[in-house]
């Protein structure tokens, strides 16, 4: 059975290779090859899942050793895959959602002449992502980690002729590189600490190492997670990443890749458990990001950017949960899965809307679309209800658990984190309602674009709606299905471990509070966008609003400090290299030249002056000889 694991990765990898090398002759069928292979991978996943279910809980870990990768003295890196409950969950999510989005893209990218390459990249992404979650050691994980980074770079910048897209892609890759730096340092630390970086030994011996080292490793892993999962302070790339085609945003920047950070933290749970300080930092980052993302989400008029903010915020929830340790791991992953469903659904919905609106993304140009695209409206609506945590839907279960867990951390942190989570819930309700209202309700606000084309909103073709429907179903029922009888908990517990924290307040109270926040959020949104018409041009807005529109100025900070500063540094260095380092050498040469020119003058052509020099020389010679004898 183990041997299937490699096939999980091989299928999409093959697809990528075929599509990218295949050349024009595959243009016609490219999309189907891609979809087929990702689905194949999904099928393999299901087979393995069934197999795992067939086993009893303590023997649900499959290891496949392919070959030794880098053997140097003590440094032994193998290509080994590990399939356990945790990675299985991800495999299903990735291949499942992935295949749906492939299908959706078939419709969405229909008119793009570079479609073949697009599907090649998507397959490449799937392969890398699967490698990431299936790797049995951190170095191999790192390969997947940067692999998805590459895929995301290629896909964000897919429309390269748009400078904005190219820039966004570059930015994403760079910010991720900063995170990757963390991961590589973490791996080095592990190597110096444990002499290896394979999951098994590292995680089992974690407790042997000093807490200081573990904290260091933990923080470095967190840095990596921040980069990949767009957590503060490395979140800046996610908003710009929306330059990519919408399916990409749905798959990579909502459902799967951005959650890799959560996977990393949960996977390294053993290390974090032994490093409480690191855990605390993780929770703080999570809390900050969930508020940050939510606030940003409130201010954006670009539907995709609003959703991106929401993604950031939701992942904040997951990171927060992951930071809580055994109390939260399971719920982090559970929220991750449910979020995968409804956020992918929301993005596909947004894509469908844009599809019908000549790629218009400004929500102020939407309005009243429910009449024109009912399916999109319904699926999007279900996703909406799920994300705000409407009772009974997926989001309700997963988010509620996280809030409970936050309080359960106990102590003042408990209260603070819990409160943040609650507030976040309220804001989520607000901005999602805002999106909903601005897009589907009110009267139509769209106008002809610069070419004078009046957009004709219309429902998207089946190939696009079906995936949306499937995901909608998922976002409705997944949460409930997982929670009833704690199915999900029992499924993951062997890997992540689980402990009920001692919550200062009962679960019921938390749920109540959440409901209250939910109502407040929706209420305010309704008052602001439901009652009175939405202005076609954004009002100046409060200071906070304006800050939020500019990603709370965090981007401007980067621009001023890093970009400008960097430019100045490099420019001055170029100058230094030319004038100083080079100058010294050229200067020496010139110096000799000048000296030569001066000495040359002595050769003035007069025989008598030559005689003088000879005479002087003779005198010197004599004097020196005598002197030598004297001393």
């Amino acid at each position: 059975m183990e041997n299937l694991i490699a096939l999980l990765i091989a299928a999409p990898l093959l697809g990528a290779a075929v599509l990218l090398v295949g050349g024009r002759r595959l243009d016609a069928v490219g999309q189907w090859i891609g979809t087929l292979l990702s689905t194949t991978s999904f099928v393999f996943g299901v087979i393995l899942f069934v197999d795992l279910l067939g086993r009893n809980t303590d023997d649900r870990t499959l290891i496949q050793h392919l070959y030794t990768w880098v053997p140097v003295a003590g440094f032994q890196a193998d290509v080994t895959f590990r399939l356990d409950q945790l990675s299985m969950t991800f495999v299903l999510l990735i291949t499942g959602v992935g295949s749906l989005i492939h299908l959706y893209s078939v419709g969405y990218m229909e008119h793009d002449e570079r479609r073949r390459r697009f599907f090649g990249y998507l397959n490449l992404f799937l392969a890398a992502m699967l490698l990431l979650v299936l790797a049995d050691n951190y170095l191999l994980l790192y390969v997947g980690w940067e692999g998805v980074g590459l895929a995301s770079y290629l896909l964000i910048g897919f429309w390269q002729h748009k400078p904005s897209a190219a820039t966004a892609a570059k930015k994403a890759f760079l910010v991720n590189r900063v995170g990757d730096m963390g991961l590589s340092i973490a791996i080095m630390l592990m190597f110096t600490t444990f002499g290896t970086f394979a999951f098994g030994p590292v995680l089992s011996h974690a407790t042997d190492a000093s807490e200081g080292r573990l904290t260091a490793i933990g923080l470095m892993l967190l840095l990596a997670a921040c980069g990949k999962s767009a957590q503060v302070p490395l979140q800046s790339w996610l908003g710009d990443a929306m330059e990519g085609p919408t399916p990409v945003s749905a798959l990579i920047h909502a459902a799967t890749m951005v959650t890799a950070g959560v996977y990393l933290i949960v996977r390294s749970g053993a290390i974090f458990n032994a490093a409480p300080d690191a855990q605390l930092v993780v929770t703080v980052v999570g809390a900050v990001t969930l508020l940050f993302g939510a606030i940003v989400g409130c201010a954006k008029d670009d539907i995709k950017k609003a959703l991106a903010g929401s993604t950031m915020s939701q992942i904040g929830y997951m990171v927060l949960a992951a930071g809580l340790g055994p109390i939260g791991y399971v719920f982090a992953i559970m929220h991750l899965v449910t979020h995968g469903f409804f956020k992918a659904g929301l993005f596909l919905g947004a894509g469908s809307v844009m599809h019908g609106m000549n790629d218009e993304v400004d929500m102020r140009r939407y309005g009243g679309l429910r009449k024109y695209m009912p399916v999109t409206f319904i699926t999007f609506g279900l996703g909406y209800l799920a994300i705000i945590g409407f009772p009974g839907l997926s989001g309700f279960f997963s988010k509620d658990k996280i809030i409970e867990a936050a309080f359960a951390k106990g102590g003042t942190e408990g209260w603070i984190l819990g409160t943040c989570a609650l507030v976040g819930a309220a804001i989520t309700a607000f901005y999602m309602t805002r999106v909903m209202l601005m897009t589907f309700f009110g009267e139509k606000r769209w106008q002809p674009d610069e070419h004078g084309h009046e957009p004709h909103p219309h429902e998207s073709p089946k190939v696009m709606t079906i995936p949306m429907i499937v995901l909608a179903v998922g976002s409705v029922f997944a949460g409930g299905f997982f929670s009833i009888g704690d199915r999900f908990l029992h499924w993951l517990e062997p890997i992540t471990g689980h402990s009920e924290g001692d919550s200062p307040i009962s679960a019921g109270v938390v749920t109540g509070a959440t409901m209250v926040c939910l109502i407040i959020g929706v209420g305010i949104a309704y008052l602001q966008y439901g009652r009175r018409p939405v202005p076609a041009v954004a009002p100046r807005g409060s200071l906070l609003t304006r800050a939020a529109r500019r990603d709370l100025l965090q981007d401007d900070f980067n621009h001023v400090v890093l970009v400008r500063g960097g430019e100045h540094l490099t420019r001055s260095l170029v100058y230094v290299d030319h004038t100083l380092v080079d100058g010294v050498v050229n200067g020496t040469a010139a110096g000799f030249g000048g000296l030569s020119g001066r000495l040359r003058k002595l050769q003035n052509g007069y025989a008598r002056s030559y005689a003088v020099s000879m005479f002087g020389g003779a005198a010197l010679l004599v004097a020196a000889t005598l002197l030598m004898r004297a001393v």
């Binding site: 990768w69 003295a73 002729h161 760079l174 080095m188 190597f191 002499g195």
Partner: protein
Amino acid sequence: MSFPLLTATAVLPAVGAVATAAVPAARRTAAKWLALLVSLATLVLAIVVMVRFDPGGARYQLTESHAWIADFGVRYELGVDGIAVVLIALTALLMPFIILAGWNDADPLETGSKRWRPTQGFFALILAVEAMVVISFEATDVFLFYIFFEAMLIPMYFLIGGFGDRAHAQGEEAASTQRSYAAVKFLLYNLVGGLIMLAAVIGLYTVAGNFSLAEIAQARANGTLHMATSTERWLFLGFFFAFAVKAPLWPLHTWLPNAMQESTAPVAVLITAVVDKVGTFAMLRFCLQLFPEASKWATPTILVLALISIIYGALLAVGQRDIKRLVAYASISHFGFIILGIFAMTSQGQSGATLYMVNHGISTAALMLVAGFLISRRGSRLIADYGGVQKVAPVLAGTFLIGGLATLSLPGLAPFVSEFLVLVGTFTRYPAIGIIATFGIVLAALYTLVLYQRTMTGPVKPAVSAMPDLKARELLVVTPLIVLLIFLGVYPKPLTDIVNPAVKQTMSDVHKTDPKPAVEAAK
């Protein structure tokens, strides 16, 4: 007396060089084919060497030894260890691609320009360089090594100064002056380095009485040859200076950008991917082996310099306007990594450094040659003159991107393995340096992606709108390199297996052992 395989590997290209030069001027194409065939034959020999080499066997294998200049205590001694084997293989491997890529670079200019580019000479010189590089990898006699280490400057010098790019932004005159400036700079830097090394070589003789690497190392090991600490340090510095110029290490690097900028892409590859490797290789073989104590004494300084090279080179690469200059500074940064790995004095570091030499050779070749194809199409080296190429020449852009990704050592491509090994190797002994060096990977991403974005993406510049995509010959050059990059990235074991024993030896030369993991140390 078995067949002198190593000599043959070096002599074949030398003979080929003479033969190529002898081809009558009219038969230009014949000369090209001859050169190509010779380089391929040499590649075959190099592969035979690789096969015949037994990683588990003696330190130096396939050895040859003949009397040469007894008065100077010089013998003609050849022998290869794992490190030399892979580097010879790299050299022999790159040559056919260099020749193929430079196929038309030395054709007479159809335009009315007065410039003179003897085709035969171009290929003859390339082969001559190959011969000298190969033999300096093989030499186990310090003097023999030194002779070719120096002599190879001459053909390189003519290659740089004699054959620039076809077209040039500032026109013929400026071009020729800049070219000869670059050539002279290259020669003088390396010559000064070499002469200072000459002093050290003489010093070594006065101390040791012969030049045989094995004998000296032996004598040092068993104490029969004692070196005063100060003597050893001076000699070490003398040797290291020459290698540091060649490598090049900050602040002795400024010749490289000029040289690579002014020479044609294949020659630039020859410089940075092949010739410069002799410097780093010599650090491993001569500095560490002959002067272990001094090496350890100098390590902190060298590590800092290497660190500066990494960061400084990367930052300057970011600031460049000229594609070739950018690649040159990137190489400076990479050489920083190599030297870092060598002097970290850990198995991972040194194996990594050796792999790095190979991988950097291949990746730079890929990037630079594609860049060369790009430049030859537009006739300008300035990044600003390009834009949107990806739209008109997707294959070119794709290969360029892969080359770039290799340069920023993306996991899955060969350079990643070596770079990570170097970093780990450094980190295990000098955590702080290891961490700072890691910033290099971010900067690498920066300059590569900026280069790609500015040249390949965005709206199509009118000047490139008619740019043709890669031709068959060019694909023939690039594809194997890319395949190799991927293969060595996924499965570097064949190389590491050859390299590891040699590194083990070097480690024992300097009496160093890898640091133990903290957990084990605690127990």
